[in-house]
């Protein structure tokens, strides 16, 4: 797992040793981090702060790392994941999950990507990559993205 790919953004790193967890809902506020804490049974690996956002990095108990991007106003504008199994997308995508499901189902029958694919909706963008035992992906809400933050930096 390539944690190093986004370390260039690091300003401060906090290692939290106590078992904890956090899996925020896209579009939710910091309270959603706490609300979801119990379900994941994972560990908060670290909190990374930059000028534009704060990243909470959590590892679920089944080994998938989830990174939630929170803006300075406390809104979760993006989530990224990487690991052997898919995260609970219903929880991560929150109010956007059903739109995501519908978009995948209605994907054009012909010339459909059977491999990495991107769901590009007005409300939310979801990118899925990988294969069983090595999934990765990201989701973000374009209208909540802080200025100067590029989608490419969410990983």
């Amino acid at each position: 797992m390539a944690h190093t790919r986004w370390l260039g953004l690091v300003v401060t790193t906090t290692i939290v040793a106590l078992p904890s967890s956090a899996r925020a809902t896209l579009g939710g506020d910091s309270a959603s981090v706490d609300a979801d804490r119990i379900r994941v049974q994972g560990a908060l690996l670290r909190i990374v702060r930059s000028d534009a956002f704060t990243v909470h990095e959590v590892q679920s108990s089944s080994g998938t790392t989830i990174r939630e991007y929170m803006s300075s106003t406390g809104t979760v504008f993006a989530v990224a994941w990487e690991g052997p199994w898919l995260p609970n997308l219903r929880q991560i995508l929150g109010p956007y999950f059903e739109n995501y499901q519908r978009a995948v189902q209605s994907g054009s029958a012909n010339r459909r990507a059977r491999g990495s694919f991107k769901i590009d909706l007005p409300d939310v963008v979801v990118q899925m990559s990988g294969h069983p035992r090595a999934f990765s992906g990201r989701a973000y809400v374009p209208r909540l993205m802080p200025q100067r933050v590029q989608a490419e930096s969410i990983r």
């Binding site: 609970n88 029958a109 010339r111 059977r114």
Partner: protein, 395 residues
């Protein structure tokens, strides 16, 4: 399928005229061997696929060599392990696997674009003219288990119809012996929860012993069981209506599956290799016959424009030749030249196109387009081969 039938099939396809101006091609491999079965790259049983390698799989009730069914249009996938068939394609009655308290075992298997939900049943699986006995397989969308647990459906979208799956089943002949492995074998929060027991009171997650999980059926063959070789012919620029090739069982076990000069790239614990492109290393890269294009990086990294009508593909004005190097965990490297064409520019009736590519931020997914014109070996974990133990890819 029997070898005789295979020969007849290939001859028939060679003689059949193709419409659309591009002939179907056949590969010169000898198919009349016990460890070979034919594959065809066409639009598949739902007539909606491209760059999918389909084959026919004969399954029988365990120990009953006359209670069998041949299922056509099964997708060959080196990115997963285990045989799965749609319940709508299955007429055979198979033995249900039972777990704790005699309750049926049902699986929620995860794929990139969704999940497959259905019971684990046991079948004898014929590959070529060899047989893997008592193989746990998944029956997708079995109506006896209509209630999908929320934790299962939370991983995405159900892939439980012919239209959705684009295939009558998936023949997972990948790097691993089981579809899940040790993570699913133990009770506890580290278990990703792919397996359930479903008594009448409702389904709940269960630990599933390694031998009871879906098995890569190749690993259970009496011989030629250390991996597979997929051979597909080269496809001319612009694509072809369809092509035929071969799925060959075993690596270095017969005259038809020798490694020869193939370069062996071992994989990491997740089944990935590193691809180096423009001086950058991308360690989350993989080779996968079940992906239908070459998916790599993104528009800003490659300079390739995304198609205006479909964000999943690249649409350069003119076809471009690119270079990359694949590197295994063993340090072995192999240079690759590949072409990226305009995904909107291909004949819609063509199903074999080597130049379709799209984005995959952060890595390379070398899908079926990469297999055309190559012999690609997938060695199973823990199996010995003339080039050492699997898991590895070689080509």
């Amino acid at each position: 399928m029997r070898p005789i039938l295979l020969l007849a099939l290939l001859v028939a396809q060679e003689l059949t005229p193709q419409c659309g101006g591009s002939p179907s091609t056949t590969t010169p491999v000898a198919v009349a061997a016990p460890n070979v079965q034919a594959v065809v790259v066409n639009a598949g049983p739902a007539n909606n696929y491209f760059n999918g390698a389909f084959t026919s799989v004969t399954i029988c009730a365990p120990g009953q060599s006359t209670v069998c069914q041949t299922i056509d249009g099964v997708l060959v996938d080196t990115g997963s392990s285990g045989l799965r068939v749609l319940s709508t394609a299955l007429s055979l009655s198979l033995r249900q696997q039972l777990g704790t308290n005699g309750a049926p075992v049902v699986e929620c298997a995860q794929f990139l674009d969704g999940f497959t939900w259905g019971p684990v049943q046991v079948a004898d699986v014929k590959l070529g003219s060899e047989q893997a006995s008592s193989v746990p397989i998944q029956v997708i969308g079995e109506t006896a288990f209509p209630n999908i647990p929320t934790d299962c459906s939370s991983s995405g979208t159900a892939e439980d119809t012919l239209a959705n799956l684009g295939a009558n089943g998936i023949l997972g002949v990948g790097l691993f012996r089981q579809d899940c492995g040790s993570a699913c074998a133990f009770v506890g929060s580290a278990n990703p929860g792919l397996y359930y027991i479903c008594p009448s009171s409702g389904c709940q997650p269960t630990a599933e012993a390694l031998n009871d999980q879906l098995q890569n059926p190749v690993a259970l063959l009496p011989t030629d069981n250390n991996g597979v070789l997929i051979q597909l012919p080269a496809v001319a620029s612009g694509g072809a209506v369809s092509v035929t090739g071969a799925l060959i069982f075993g690596i270095g076990t017969q005259a038809n599956n020798a490694l020869g000069s193939a370069k062996v790239l071992t994989v990491d614990a997740n089944g990935n290799v590193t691809t180096v492109f423009s001086g950058q290393s991308y360690p989350s890269s993989f080779i996968d016959a079940g992906s239908n294009g070459v998916y790599f990086l993104d528009a800003s990294t490659t300079g390739l424009p995304i198609c205006s009508d479909n964000a999943d593909f690249y649409c350069p004005a003119a076809s471009q030749t690119l270079s990359a190097t694949n590197r295994g965990a063993n340090g072995a490297t192999s240079a690759v030249n590949f072409n990226v064409g305009n995904a909107d520019g291909f004949n819609a009736s063509f199903s074999a196109i080597s130049e379709i590519a799209g984005p995959n931020p952060g890595g390379f997914d070398w899908g079926l387009g990469f297999f055309f014109g190559r012999s690609i070996y997938t060695a199973i974990e823990g199996s010995s081969t003339p080039a050492g133990q699997g898991p590895y890819f070689a080509y």
